[in-house]
C-alpha cells in the first residue's frame, strides 16, 4: 500500500514539474490516495515543495515531503500523467501497470532540439511582424531568436538559473539589435527586441500567479508573482546593460 501512495505522490510531483496548477495537483493526489484506500489525505503544495500525509484505515499515518526544485513546461507529459491519475481513480490498477504507465509518461516523446530551435526563431520573427515591424526587421529578428536560443541552450547547462538565463537572452538580443542598427540594416532596435522579448517575458507566469492568488493558493501565487517580477527585472537589466555600455542613442 505504501508503494502505491508513493506512486500517487510521484505522479503529483511530476505533474507540478511539468506545469500543472497547484490546486489541480492537490486534488489529483487526494483522489488517487482515496482510490488506493486512504481514510484521509492531507496535501499541502506550493510551487517548490510538497507535504503529503496519508491516514490508512487501520490507524497508521504516513508523511512525505518532496522538494521540487526545477520545473520545465511539458504539456505532453502532463497530459499522460493526468490520464494516468484519472484511470487510477476509475478502476483498480496493479502496481506493475501503474509503474509502466508512469515510466511511459516520464519518458514521453519530446520535440527535437532542431524543431525547438526553429520555433524559437519563428516566434521572434512572427511577433516582430505582429507588433508592426517590416519584413527586414522580421528576418533579422528570426536570426536573433535563433542565436538567443543557442545562447540559452549552452549557458543554461552551466548556470541552471532561470533568472540568469533571461538576463543573458535579453543581453544577446539587445546587442544584436544594436549591431544591426549600427550596420544600417534597420533604423530602430524596437521591433527586434519586442519580437524576442515575447518568448522571454513571464506573461504566463504572471497570469498563473494571479490565478493562484484568486483561487486561494496565496503562497504559491505570491511565489510565482515574485518570480515573474524578477524575470521582468532581469530582462530589463540585460537591456539596460547593453544600452548603457554601448552608449548608443536610443
Amino acid at each position: 500500500m505504501i508503494k502505491l501512495f508513493n506512486y500517487a505522490i510521484s505522479i503529483g510531483e511530476e505533474m507540478l514539474i511539468s506545469g500543472a496548477e497547484v490546486h489541480r495537483v492537490e486534488e489529483s493526489i487526494t483522489r488517487m490516495c482515496r482510490a488506493f484506500g486512504a481514510a484521509r489525505t492531507d496535501v499541502f503544495i506550493i510551487t517548490s515543495s510538497m507535504v503529503v500525509t496519508i491516514h490508512t484505515p487501520n490507524g497508521e499515518t504516513y508523511t512525505q515531503t518532496r522538494r521540487v526544485i526545477n520545473s520545465s513546461t511539458n504539456f505532453e507529459k502532463l497530459h499522460l500523467l493526468n490520464d494516468l491519475s484519472r484511470k487510477i481513480c476509475q478502476k483498480a490498477m496493479t502496481e506493475q501497470e501503474i509503474e509502466e504507465k508512469f515510466n511511459e509518461a516520464i519518458n514521453c516523446k519530446k520535440n527535437s532540439f532542431f524543431l525547438e530551435f526553429v520555433s524559437c526563431a519563428a516566434i521572434a520573427g512572427a511577433f516582430t511582424l505582429f507588433f508592426g515591424g517590416n519584413l527586414t526587421e522580421a528576418a533579422i529578428s528570426f536570426f536573433v531568436g535563433a542565436i538567443v536560443k543557442l545562447g540559452i541552450h549552452f549557458c543554461g547547462k552551466i548556470t541552471q538559473s532561470k533568472i540568469f538565463d533571461k538576463f543573458l537572452a535579453a543581453t544577446i538580443a539587445t546587442s544584436l539589435a544594436f549591431i544591426a542598427v549600427k550596420i544600417g540594416w534597420i533604423s530602430s532596435v524596437d521591433m527586434i527586441i519586442i519580437g524576442n522579448i515575447m518568448s522571454l517575458i513571464p506573461g504566463i507566469g504572471l497570469t498563473n500567479a494571479l490565478r493562484d492568488l484568486f483561487t486561494g493558493d496565496s503562497i504559491s501565487g505570491l511565489l510565482r508573482l515574485i518570480e515573474a517580477a524578477l524575470i521582468a527585472l532581469s530582462i530589463a537589466a540585460g537591456y539596460f546593460l547593453v544600452a548603457f555600455l554601448g552608449g548608443f542613442a536610443l
Binding site: 496548477e21 513546461t73 505532453e76 517575458i201
Partner: protein, 151 residues
Amino acid sequence: MTTAEIIQILSGFVGSMGFAVLFNIRGKRFVAVSIGGLISWLLFVILSKFISNEPTNYFIVACALSAYSEIMAILLKSPTTTFITTALVPLIPGGSLYYTMAYAFQGNMTTFLQKGIYTLQLAAALALGIIVSSTITRIIHKIIKQKTGLL
C-alpha cells in the same frame, strides 16, 4: 479588415504554434491550441471595431478564450492550462512592456509610469478574464454533478 490586421492575426497564429512546440503539445491538442491562437487575435480585432478601450477588449477575449479552453479540455481530456497558456500568447503585452522599459531607460518618468500602469492593466484584465471564465465553469460542473447525483 486591413492588411496590417490580417498580418497580425496570422503572425499571432504562428507565434502560438511556436509556443505549442516549445511546450511539447502534440496531436489533436496541437491543432486545438493553434486554432485558439488564431481566434484570440481575430476576436480582438473584431471587438476593437466596437470597443475602443483595450483592457476591456483583453478581458472579453480572455473570457471567451478560457471558455474555449475549458471546452477543449473536456473534449480532449487534458488539463485546461495547456490550452489557456498557449492560445492566449498573442495577448501577452510584450510590446507595452518593452516601451515601459525603454521609457525607464530614457528617464522619461511620466511616460514610463503611464506605460507601466497600462501594462499592468492589460495583464490584470487577462488574468481576470481567465478567472471569471474558470469560476463559471466550476459552478456549472457542480450543478451538473448535483443534478445527475454524481456528487
